[in-house]
């Protein structure tokens, strides 16, 4: 067997990856220490990873490298053209205000920073939301029901074409009835009842479609994990998967036996 084809670091990596995968899967049996170890490792590593990336992206790339381009001596000497390199200091100040949250006495300063960020975010969002998700959506829902062809008018009954007349009507009925269902100022009785019920039926079919898609999504994730486990179960990787699977089961059995009787899962 050409075991040496896999470099050592990849081999160790494969064993660790398989081990951690099985730790997490052990949750399917029940909540247990192996799962908790895996989970806390995950949180710890991802926090560590995030800090490193934020450090290099924000503090080095966006702040330090820009400031380092400036020449403080030139500015002291009266040449202000380098001043633009110090622009990142403004957001740094605001960012530091956010950090005052850690110091209860001056924590209120962080409100100024939040006000700045949230104000900008809200302002920027309003016209863009109106444009993309209100006007644009109305625009596409409003369509003529009839089409003009060869001097005559026709109403297309083709269900397979999403733009056909009949689908335009269904879309319109759907949008209006669902909007009406989320309308709280009138009682749903009489014609209102019929419209709201129609809305509910549309909602349920729509959620059904989403449900089907979500099932697909979750299954794909499992398939991906199993694919990796299978890849690492070959002789090239020293049968990592079967060996570690056995070990995990043994650990679970020992844990189960060593627990005092009657102790519930934490």
């Amino acid at each position: 067997m050409p075991e040496h084809l896999i470099p050592t670091h990849a081999l160790i990596g494969a064993w660790i990856a398989v081990g951690l995968t099985l730790f997490i899967f052990s949750f399917l049996y029940k909540d247990n220490p192996l799962f908790k170890i895996g989970e806390h490792l995950y949180v710890g590593i991802s926090v560590g990873y995030s800090v490193v990336v934020v450090w290099y992206t924000v503090f080095i790339r966006l702040i330090w490298e820009e400031i380092a381009k400036g020449n403080p001596m030139a500015i002291l000497g009266g040449d202000f053209s380098d001043l633009k390199h110090y622009e990142p200091l403004i957001p740094v100040m605001i960012g530091l205000l956010i950090w005052t949250r850690f110091i209860p006495k001056i924590a209120w300063l962080s409100r100024l920073a939040f006000a700045f960020v949230v104000g900008f975010g809200s302002g920027v969002a309003i016209p863009r939301t109106v444009s993309s998700t209100i006007l644009k959506q109305i625009e596409d829902t409003v369509n003529p029901l009839l089409t003009m062809s060869n001097g005559g008018f026709s109403f297309s009954l083709d269900l397979a074409n999403p733009q056909s007349g009949v689908n335009t009507v269904i879309l319109l009925v759907g949008v209006i009835s669902v909007l009406f269902y989320f309308f709280f100022s009138v009682e749903h009785s009489g014609a209102g009842y019929v419209t709201a019920r129609t809305g509910v039926y549309f909602l349920m079919i729509g959620f059904g479609a989403a449900f089907g898609y979500t099932v697909m999504s979750r299954m794909s994730l499992l398939i991906g994990r199993f694919g990796d486990l299978l890849k690492f179960s070959t002789a090239d990787y020293g049968y990592a998967t079967p060996i570690l699977l056995l070990l995990t089961i043994v650990c679970l059995v020992i844990w189960e036996r060593s627990r005092p009787r009657g102790a519930g899962s934490e």
Binding site: V130, I138, E139, F184, S185
Partner: protein, 411 residues
Amino acid sequence: MILVSLFLLLLIHGAAFAAPFPLTPPEGFRALDTPNDAGTSISLVWKASPGDSKDRKVQVWLAEKKANGSVGEFKKITELPSKSRYIKPGDFPWWDQPAAKGDHYVKIPSSQSFPIEDGKGYAAKLVIREGDQEVSSPVSEATPAPNWVNLAQINNLAFVVVFTGILLTSIGASRRNPHMYLRRIAGLDAVEEAIGRSTEMGRPILYLTGAGDMGDVSTIAATVILGEVAKKVARYDTTLKVPHRDPIVMAVCQEVVKEAYVEVGRPDAYREDSNFFITGDQFSYTAAVDGIMLREKPAANFFMGSYFAESLLLTETGASTGAIQIAGTDSDHQLPFFVTTCDYTLIGEELYAASAYLSREPVLVGTLRGQDIGKAIIMAALILGTTLATLGVLVQSDAVNYILDLFKDFK
């Protein structure tokens, strides 16, 4: 004679073969500052011609105007087929049209080969070519400038202004009358039933506020509803358990629950530990809450707020213990799971509506009413728009666009 007529015939025939329409200079050609832009660009318009075809090319030539008013050397900027760049319906709103529908419209931005600067005059002409023939248009001049308002988007601004007005008015109205009419929400009747059942069975009530922080509308709604649930719990003297994953949300909820107990005159029954923090991690939190459900078998589970992948893990465990489950969330991607595993689900905006309905907080009620009016306008626009658009096809008229354009998104 015969020869001449033969020659003429050939000429006519040949010309007809190559171009049924003679090469003429473009009509109505003019250059203008590109509307609604940041400057450094000019636009050209000219009328469509029956001779427009793929093979007939249009060249755009530009020249800079000198300070003394003379025109510099013309440079060829681009070449395009004459049968292109027509103004289509929907390109420009009726209140801001650089030219009529069906005309040609070309925007010339500044480029490295021909930089266009604001405030300078530019002369433009078109050269129409077909085969080795060519004709030139008259020269037209324009001065690019940046604009202060994007007129094409003025309907967007109008929408924002009108909506702001509606919102402020309805908040004002609900301050005067916080009991303005709101329709009953089906899931809310179940709340009472669920609490009653818990009391009968002597089992606790579990209430989750979701994964969001206090910046989430759904979390705010969840805390408001918690207050109302807590009042009923205090009256019935049942146990309430609220496990948390965000310390700030927990602090807020402690206040809310305490106030509720005080309000119904049972401050003695309030227990500080009904709100407790578990952890911020999604799956440890879920595992812990599942454990509570299995051990203490609450008679009613409430899931309010925003949820992610953990939703199914929670509701499925809850369903297996036989609890009444009431959910309310705006996380639409998780709604299918709540709907199928819970007894009652407040869908999307119903969650916000429930918080307004129960608390009668003027700002919440007013916002709900304001959004309702906005929705009514949109529903009306959809029905009216479709009718008008169909009418427009029937009578072959563009007049309906005066209304339809108001609800379109222009750039």
